[in-house]
């Protein structure tokens, strides 16, 4: 009971902070729209021209490039928001607030879980904003699809926030932050198949693609939104749940290990 309250308190703080940080909220949406509408439209035209009348269509027939990347961009938004939320632990450490949390008579596990749920909630919220774009992209969402998407988005968000906590627990300064964004977040995004179909890839890349947990996340979102899938949904779910569990266990472990 005591621990549930601690989890709730830590969750509430993250949600409040996010809610007040409107520039961050808008920035994330702006970034996603840039990818979706500018890059998506531009590349879509080019690809349509290049593959017009080709024997091997780039995408499944009848699917617009923007529609294809739409679930990928939702996945990207969730990945970036989750990692960013988790890495706020480094800020808390640098600016002292983490001490207030660590000296409180609550279990470290509660701190890690509260943090993971907080980041997941925030990322789920950003993902939900992305769903508003559906009509502009030309996707019709039914209530059933939205409920499924929420479940999947939460699962993805929780897993990546936990991963971020595992990374942040060992980082002492902000310098590492950009490095993580560049060497973890971007490769994960590029390899996930958010921007291109995962077929006919060279062996080394296919190997990396299969190792990227976001691949399975994007796949389940795309299956729900567009009906296209790389793997069976059961495998996507299995990998994502497994990855999420592993990461939250590691996050709890890392927090208990600290000093």
């Amino acid at each position: 009971m005591e621990n549930l309250r601690a989890i709730y308190t830590i969750w509430l703080r993250d949600v409040k902070r996010f809610w007040r940080d409107k520039p961050r909220m808008i920035g994330t949406v702006a970034q996603a729209s840039l990818f979706l509408f500018v890059l998506g439209t531009g590349l879509g035209r080019g690809l349509a021209g290049a593959f017009a009348g080709g024997r091997d269509p780039f995408l499944a027939p009848g699917i617009d490039y923007v529609v294809f990347i739409y679930p990928g961009i939702i996945g990207m938004t969730i990945l970036f928001t989750s990692l960013f939320s988790a890495l706020s632990i480094i800020w808390d450490r640098e600016f002292g607030f983490l001490k207030e949390v660590l000296v409180a008579p609550i279990s470290r596990s509660a701190v890690a879980i509260g943090k993971a749920l907080g980041g997941a909630t925030v990322a789920l919220f950003q993902g939900t904003i992305m769903l508003v774009f559906a009509p502009f992209v030309g996707v019709a969402l039914t209530p059933g699809m939205v409920i499924k998407l929420w479940l999947f988005m939460f699962l993805i968000a929780f897993s990546f926030t936990s991963m971020g906590i595992v990374i942040a627990a060992r980082m002492r300064t902000m310098e590492g932050f950009h490095m993580i964004m560049n060497f973890v977040a971007l490769p994960m995004f590029f390899l996930s198949g958010a921007m291109f179909p995962l077929k006919g890839l060279p062996g080394w890349m296919e190997c990396l693609v299969n190792m990227d947990p976001l691949t399975y996340g994007v796949d389940m979102l795309r299956y729900t939104v567009v009906g296209l899938n790389q793997y069976p949904l059961s495998r996507d779910l299995l990998v994502m749940v497994g990855f999420g569990l592993l990461m939250i266990v590691l996050a709890v472990f890392e927090f208990n290990r600290a000093d």
């Binding site: 703080r13 409040k16 600016f95 002292g96 207030e100 949390v101 000296v103 008579p105 609550i106 000093d259």
Partner: protein
Amino acid sequence: MDKIIEVESLTKKFGELVAVDCVSFDVEKGEIFGFLGPNGAGKSTTINMLCTLLKPTSGGAILNGFDVLKEPHAVRRSIGLVFQDPSLDDRLTARENLEFHAMVYNLAPKDMWDRIAEVLRLVDLEDRQNDLVRNFSGGMKRRLEIARGLIHYPKVLFLDEPTLGLDPQTRNHIWQYVHDLKEREEITIFLTTHYMDEAENCGRIAIIDYGRIIALDTPDGLKRQVGGDIITIKTVDNERAAREIKERYGLEVSRDDGSLKFEIVRGEEFIPDLISGLSIEITSINWRKPTLEDVFLKLTGRAIREEDAGPVDRMRMYARTKGRR
């Protein structure tokens, strides 16, 4: 009197460096106990061990009847902490910071609001409670941190350099709050400082240097270790005057900066005698009671000076005055 903290042979080593060297002392219930010493003397390290934030290399301590090594959660519930560095969430309001604390310390929801109102009143922040902390001055943040440290009815409040980086007026205010607090709550206050004048606010002071306690007494008791009052004179011929004082009164005279300095009990009664007795013309005379600075000088042969603040402290002061982000 009851003891609230009992420290036994507490030691902390960081590699080769012995930060705290086999320290033992007791703190009595209800007193204001101070740790006085220069930066890096081991004050914060000791506090961190008592707060269960740092594991001692050897030795131990009992706080409010709980072992800091074996019962960290019970110890944490018994203490309130104001850290040397700011530890508020400046994106939340003052009130939200207090709510966070109350909830994490599991205060009963029905008491929570009254208690938050009470501590806000104690530090005079009621009318700013809904402002974001980032808009607070250094002194206001400190007060809020003190209020926060009190919410869960701690038995001991630790204040680690509570006035570092604050202007003198704000510092006096903070002390006012600390004294008020002692009146209103049943609490023991354990603080560290490297400001000599502030240490006077304590009931008892432990002077700590290089990780060891070199003296522990009331401020007056410590000052009695200096051989009385301090008289500084200037004369037309310091050489001869020094010799005469030594011969006539048998006093140790030290020279500094063109003046002569010596210690004597009941200095105010000695001055007339000195003026009539000395054959050399005195151009100025200064008499004062000993300060803790004199005690520290006597015990260590060094002076604690504020200018000695290292780069870390300067950064801290800067951070505190400028706000955090």
